[in-house]
């Protein structure tokens, strides 16, 4: 597991060889724990870089940091301290920190994954966007109609303009569609 995390780290730092990249992509396809780690790294890395935007709960990083501090087990205390101090020293050490943010984030995630599941859920459920309780399924529709609407959605995606990520919008919705009843 640790080896896999190191490989992910290398890819996230863009220091990978083509073989390493292929290996990580292969792991992402087959290993749920790797997918989960990758997901957490992305989110926390983006949160630390303040790239998640104003709509994300601005205290997300603080909550993660506070939870890490509470953890009795500390795999990497000096890196944890870097994370805790990050905001205070950012103006001074921004250039130096920029190079290591991804690494800091990875160690933060290692702590994050040690949290009780209730805490992880709490962080994951941090108020992201919108007010609807479930936006990954069509509301009010029968299963049969849902299938038809999803087909319409893919069809619509073929004609979507640049309102999404270069046309990815409708496809992203389809890929993320919640199939669970």
């Amino acid at each position: 597991m640790q080896v896999n995390k190191e490989k992910i780290s290398v890819v996230l730092d863009s220091e990978h060889s083509s073989t390493e990249f292929d290996e990580v992509m292969s792991l992402l396809k087959t290993d749920e724990s790797v997918r989960r780690s990758w997901h957490c790294y992305q989110i926390i890395g983006a949160a630390i870089r303040k790239e998640l935007g104003v709509s994300i709960d601005s205290q997300l990083v603080d909550r993660i940091r506070a939870q890490i501090e509470k953890e009795p087990t500390c795999l990497a205390p000096w890196r944890l301290r870097n994370l805790v101090d990050y905001q205070f020293f950012k103006p001074i050490v921004s250039l130096a920190v920029a190079a290591s943010v991804a690494t800091v984030a990875i160690f933060a995630v290692q702590q994050f994954e040690l949290m009780p599941s209730t805490v992880i859920n709490q962080v994951a459920d941090t108020g992201v966007l919108g007010a609807h309780s479930d936006a990954t399924r069509w509301d009010t529709l029968s299963p049969e109609m849902e299938n038809k609407m999803n087909t319409y959605l893919v069809e619509h995606g073929e004609f979507t303009s640049m309102s999404g990520m270069n046309g990815l919008s409708a496809y992203a919705k389809f890929v993320s569609y919640d199939a669970a009843p």
């Binding site: 989110i43 998640l52 990954t136 509301d139 609407m149 069809e155 004609f159 992203a172 993320s176």
Partner: protein
């Protein structure tokens, strides 16, 4: 990362700082349009909506005017979509199901804003430039697109200064609130992408496939359905008749766009003993849908627009012959 500057410069989308400073909001839209058609990349993006964060891996190749792409969900079910110049495959491994279609849109590229429509955007939106920032470690220019009425969402586009790629989008609803957000957390521009990157995680043989077995015949002539009234700025951009995959029923598909937002209208004859029709409004995140039955046809309007828009267009549909 991003070592292929010469490659992109050769495409004519590399800009100097001074040139960037002089660019208008319209110019940035044009650059987004160009980059979507010319730049190949692989990366990871997050899709944030309501109380959820979805992470997706994407590989996109633009080469010699042709495009192919693979989206792979990194959360939950390993759903994926692979599309090339004329086909789309949707993999739903948990359902043991796949959907295959021949693409309907212009095979020359993904639909996007055309230059002629960019001038027309002023009718529906106020465009202005915001601050420069960083996304996924890349310098970006913020472009603010504010709607002039309630028939479309607003947008905040963060555009990669060097390549013109769209690295982050906020879909903005009422009170300037972001309804949805797409953002790359990692992206690498590539001059070439290996075929293996477009291989599915789930073997095709593991799924039961639905949809087109062979390339469908050219679309039939439209049957005469049209919207009698449209919200300001929207125009008919496509109208084709064909068969829908899975249940293979004939439908007419009309697309209305204001240059950024798009709305699809699907018209399907109700079958005796068929599915119960959809009537009224439904939604999924920022996507709105409206259904109505007219003259024995199910009319379904779908779009990433406020409910007012699908309701307005759906109620104005009529058959002229």
């Amino acid at each position: 990362m991003f070592k292929n500057v010469l490659f992109v410069a050769a495409l004519g989308i590399f800009c100097t700082d001074s040139a960037i400073a002089k660019e208008s909001a319209q110019s940035w839209l044009m650059r987004m349009h160009q980059a979507a058609k010319t730049v190949s990349y692989e990366g990871t993006f997050v899709y944030l909506h309501d109380n959820r964060i979805e992470t997706m891996q994407v590989v996109h190749e633009s080469a010699r005017g042709l495009h192919r792409e693979r989206l792979f969900s990194l959360n939950g079910e390993a759903r994926e979509i692979i599309r090339d110049k004329d086909q789309v495959w949707c993999y739903l491994p948990n359902r043991k199901m796949g959907v295959h279609e021949y693409r309907r849109a212009d095979a020359s590229g993904f639909p996007a804003v055309r230059p002629v429509r960019i001038d027309g955007l002023k009718e529906s939106y106020d465009l202005k430039l915001g601050a420069q920032d960083r996304i996924a470690g890349r310098p970006v220019q913020l472009l603010i697109v504010k709607p002039k009425d309630e028939f479309r969402y607003g947008y905040r586009f963060w555009v990669d200064i060097e390549y013109g790629l769209l690295l982050k989008v906020d879909l903005v609803g009422k009170q300037e609130r972001a309804v949805e957000q797409y953002m790359f957390t990692h992206i690498v521009v590539k001059s070439k992408i290996d075929d293996e990157q477009f291989a599915p995680a789930t073997p095709k043989a593991d799924l039961v496939w639905h949809g087109d077995e062979k390339k469908p015949p050219p679309p039939n002539s439209p049957s005469g359905w049209t919207a009698q009234k449209l919200p300001k700025g929207y125009q008919l951009t496509s109208n084709i008749s064909r068969h829908l995959p899975i249940d293979n029923v004939p439908i007419e598909h009309l697309v209305y766009s204001d240059g950024i937002s798009s709305v699809s209208v699907f018209i399907e004859k109700l079958q005796p003993g068929g599915a119960k029709p959809m009537i009224g409004l439904s939604h999924m995140g920022a996507i709105s849908a409206f259904g109505v039955v007219m003259d024995g046809y199910q009319i379904t309007v779908v779009g990433e627009v406020p409910t007012a828009t699908v309701d307005y267009i759906g109620r104005s549909m009529s058959r002229t012959n």
